[in-house]
Symmetry: C2
Subunit: 207 residues, 2 copies
């Protein structure tokens, strides 16, 4: 008995064992087009053209899919930061990276929220995500050590300084996405500028 049901957009990866990647791509598309609340296991399966149970061949549960999506986000973020750093040099590096970081959050708001959302917060059981996300901190820290070597900023624990900077950038992205900085009479770029300047002055003064 032949079934005449023809799926509209069956991803070609379907038959080649690439369903895992196809699901992540579908998830990224849903996030971009419909926001964080659209990131459901059934919705992603639907978008990928497979049954609701199919994702369980590739992800232990919904959290595992969300973690994979978050990982992909951290890779994109790191790439954006790296790109910004390569275009700058010396003292300007930190500012350029800061701008790129905040820009990434505003260009991919739903993705960014997933990356730092409660669903993947406890990543004790998600070693891949832990590694990918901690690369952000390491990246900032290396940059700070170069600034220290160049004498642009004072001595001090670079890990602590890196955590400070990351906290600053993360908070700025989240609060501005939430509209909490709307009352301040500055554009986002101006805020990033002001913020980076305060941080640079503060770290320069450390002995």
């Amino acid at each position: 008995m032949p079934s005449k049901r023809t799926p509209k957009a069956l991803p070609r990866a379907y038959h080649h064992g690439d369903l895992r990647s196809a699901l992540i791509q579908s998830a990224l598309g849903l996030l971009r087009d419909e926001g964080p609340e659209a990131l459901t296991l059934r919705g992603v399966a639907r978008a990928a053209g497979v049954s609701q149970a199919a994702p369980y061949r590739h992800f232990k549960d919904r959290r595992a899919l969300v973690a994979a999506v978050a990982e992909e986000g951290f890779r994109m973020l790191q790439s954006a930061m790296l790109h910004a750093a390569q275009k700058a040099d010396g003292r300007l590096g930190l500012k350029q990276v800061a701008i790129a970081y905040v820009q990434f959050g505003h260009e991919h708001p739903a993705e960014y929220r997933i990356m730092f959302g409660p669903e993947v917060a406890r990543h004790d059981e998600l070693p891949d995500l832990r590694e990918t996300s901690s690369a952000v901190l390491a990246f900032v820290q290396v940059g700070l050590e170069q600034l220290q070597a160049a004498g642009s900023i004072g001595a001090g624990d670079p890990a602590a300084m890196a955590a400070t900077i990351w906290s600053m950038l993360h908070g700025l992205v989240m609060l501005s996405l939430d509209g909490q900085t709307a009352g301040v009479g500055l554009t986002l770029d101006q805020l990033v500028d002001e913020t980076t300047r305060i941080m640079m002055f503060g770290m320069a003064s450390r002995t």
Copy 2:
């Protein structure tokens, strides 16, 4: 022009007393005991001992309940900051408030996540929440203006500085809750200390 503060709804005696307040209290209890994912409309109704449909007499939808819970959180946060500021004076104020802020996030992690979660992020339609949450920024700004008047920090737009500090504190709470600062060899208190110092130095240097 008299700004009219419209009271939400006069508490009236229901069968359960004030069911609206009871639901919010139940929600806070669920958050504390079981985390953010336990904040469901049906679960809250169950915890309050009413039917699943009863909350709709008091909240338009789930989002309205979440917003009310977030509002309560911002009131608690502001109270903690105010209390810390009153115990300190002068330059020490900022540090004490910063410690109190971060402490609040770590004592009420699930509540804090709800306050800044995506469900209430777009608060264009939640004027009460908008007002309550923006009070945090105003509080910090007033403190900064006092520091400026005392000459402890340099000139500069206090609103921008306040946004910078709030971003810093918010990012620190979120990243430390997510375990992202675990790699840094410092305790949370030490991180707050380092962070506050950098900010104070940075703002002192502004001319």
